[in-house]
């Protein structure tokens, strides 16, 4: 009987904040993510060196006071490239998630609102179909046909985020449509669209935020993979995936060229995943209660 409602209200913000700070994975993830975000922002105004400036005499140097992360085969400063690469990764992944949420959530809400009809069926079958494609393969195809660029990589990754959010928001919305407060709104004469926006969307927001974090991290991985095969951001804009591709033949000479960008990807994805897990625990009282 004393079950806490799974959704939150403004007056519980304080309580949420407290449980956020208690969640170790959230704190660790948030710190990692903040560091990466700060790096990306810093690169907008300052990098130790011009990321594109070649300095052949000083190529393939190890870690030093001048070049914290060493230099690559053209003598470019790896630290500067990592900073700018963070920016590329984050922008591509963020826009891809935005595309997924922007199109997927309305589709999912629509399908849930007209549940059981032909329209619902068409939307869901469409989603299944997108899932049937190996995502990375199609992303490669799209960027191959339209030409490699960061924008095309973003679109290719974003397309596969649409069904993720459509399915998730439909499933979450479906269970809300049977809840009595939604029935009450219908009895109060409110229409489908209005109920979707006023009652459904706010109550699935938490789920969407958690999934958004996870898709963001998957987007970072996908961007790196596309860039690795040369279909992401084009030179001279540095990206972590491209740096790894360049490092491959030099791995025995200069292992740091392979290790540094890889670690950057791992830490970013790790940070986002930890934050997503933490958020899930914070939002979902089921897991919270079982931890007590």
């Amino acid at each position: 009987m004393s079950e806490v409602s799974p959704v939150i209200s403004e007056s519980r913000t304080r309580e949420l904040l407290r449980s956020a700070l208690r969640s170790r994975s959230f704190v660790a993830g948030a710190i990692l993510t903040a560091i990466i975000l700060l790096s990306a922002l810093t690169s907008l105004v300052w990098t130790p060196y011009d990321f594109a400036a070649q300095d052949i005499p000083n190529k393939l140097q190890g870690f030093s006071a001048e070049h914290w992360f060493g230099t690559d085969q053209y003598g470019r400063d790896v630290f500067s490239m990592i900073l700018v690469g963070a920016r590329t990764s984050i922008i591509v992944a963020l826009l891809a998630v935005g595309l997924g949420i922007g199109l997927g959530v309305p589709l999912g809400l629509l399908a849930a609102a007209v549940r059981g009809t032909l329209l619902d069926e068409v939307v869901m079958r469409g989603n299944d179909l997108v899932f049937a494609f190996p995502a990375l393969l199609i992303a490669i195809l799209i960027t191959a046909v339209f030409g490699p660029s960061a924008i095309n990589a973003m679109i290719a990754i974003g397309i596969f985020n649409i069904p993720v959010f459509a399915r998730l928001s439909r499933a979450a919305a479906l269970s809300l449509w049977t809840r009595e407060f939604v029935l009450a709104a219908r009895v109060a004469g409110k229409g489908t669209a209005r109920i979707s926006v006023e009652h459904i969307l706010p109550n699935i927001a938490n789920t969407l935020i958690v999934q958004g974090t996870i898709q963001f991290s998957l987007g970072i991985l996908a961007e790196a993979a596309l860039a690795y095969v040369g279909l992401g951001a084009q030179p001279p804009i540095p990206s972590w995936g491209k740096m790894l591709a360049d490092s491959q033949t030099l791995v025995s000479l200069a292992p740091h060229l392979a290790i540094i960008p890889g670690l950057a990807i791992v830490l970013t994805v790790l940070g986002l995943n930890l934050m997503g897990d933490g958020l899930r625990d914070i939002f979902d009282p089921r897991t919270r209660r079982s931890r007590q």
Partner: protein, 315 residues
């Protein structure tokens, strides 16, 4: 059950049909003039014309689509433009590498993930659980191609345990073949195993909270036996869904991993096809991979029904 199978087969056929239209549209309609796309802007007019004829570009789009489909149904995938040999032949050679690699990776994934996930769930919040969860959290974050580079650097370049890429070929014996697939399979499997172990754990924990677990305990089953006899099978349903999805990740991941290790598989064939703009090869191989993914998803749905008796009657 038969009507269920029939229904699934029909929906699989529809998926394949739509998929083929999408692939055809991306590769044959979106580029405008595929021949121009394949040969680039500096192409000789007569080679361009010859390719147009080979592609059948003088025919209407609908006809081209149907002749492509008809060809594939007969096992005729066209003639590769770069290799000048039938795509079917190329595919058969390459499948001998890609299929064992995918199977090897999937086996590794399951062999690692199931025990890890089950142990972590059984000893929830113990040191073992925390270790498994920590390790998988990192495993999920590792890009497989980076892991591949690191594996190659450590085990091939530095320790010389494996060759630094390439495929020994099955004619040198099973062991040599498997050996040259081992590093790629590990690189593919690690991130997927991490994901699967986490899914297994959380699915088991959900199942362990069900009422029938308490009923089983009230019968006198110990916690361990309850886990094995009552929880694992019920927990498998969401896990299977993920295994099905992972197959598609493994296939796509293989495109990149085959490139890292210079393995002559389907992925490398596609990738070379893309860089050399050989749309004929790319189109058919992509269709083949999509077919494989859709077929595996079909198998997963059949497996659901075998696991869960409720579905046998519902459908």
């Amino acid at each position: 059950m038969t009507s269920f199978l029939f229904g699934r087969i029909v929906s699989m056929a529809i998926s394949l049909l739509v998929a083929s239209i999408i692939i055809f549209a991306i590769l044959e309609i979106l580029p405008g003039d595929p021949a121009q796309f394949m040969l680039g802007v500096n192409a000789q007019p007569d080679t361009l014309q010859a390719l147009r004829t080979q592609l059948g570009l003088d025919q209407p789009v609908i006809l081209r689509y149907f002749s492509w489909m008809a060809g594939m149904l007969h096992g005729d995938f066209g003639i590769s433009y770069t290799y000048r040999s039938p795509v079917t032949e190329l595919v058969l050679q390459r499948v001998a590498v890609s299929a064992p690699l995918a199977l090897y990776a999937l086996t590794l994934t399951i062999l690692v993930a199931f025990p890890a996930g089950i142990i972590a769930a059984a000893r929830r919040n113990s040191a073992t659980d925390l270790t498994v969860m920590g390790a998988t959290q990192i495993g999920v974050a590792v890009p497989n191609f980076w892991f591949a580079i690191i594996l190659m650097w450590v085990f091939a370049v530095t320790l010389h345990w494996f060759s630094a890429g390439g495929f020994a070929g099955w004619n040198k014996g099973f062991f040599e073949g498997i050996k040259s697939l081992t590093l790629p399979a590990i690189a593919l499997a690690l991130p997927q195993a991490s994901i699967l172990a986490r899914v297994m754990r959380s699915s088991l924990l959900d199942t362990l909270g069900e009422d029938y677990i308490r009923t089983a305990r009230a019968k006198g089953l110990s916690q361990n036996k309850t886990l094995w006899r009552h929880a694992v099978r019920n927990a498998l349903i969401p896990v299977l869904t993920i295994v099905g999805l992972q197959f598609s990740f493994l296939l796509a991941g293989a495109i990149i991993i085959e490139n890292v290790f210079y393995l002559p598989g389907l992925g490398r064939l596609i990738f070379q096809g893309i860089t050399q703009r050989d749309l004929i090869t790319v189109k058919s191989v992509v269709m083949l991979l999509v077919f494989a993914v859709i077929f595996v998803n079909f198998l997963v749905e059949v497996a659901y029904v075998l696991i869960d008796p409720r579905l046998r009657h519902q459908r």
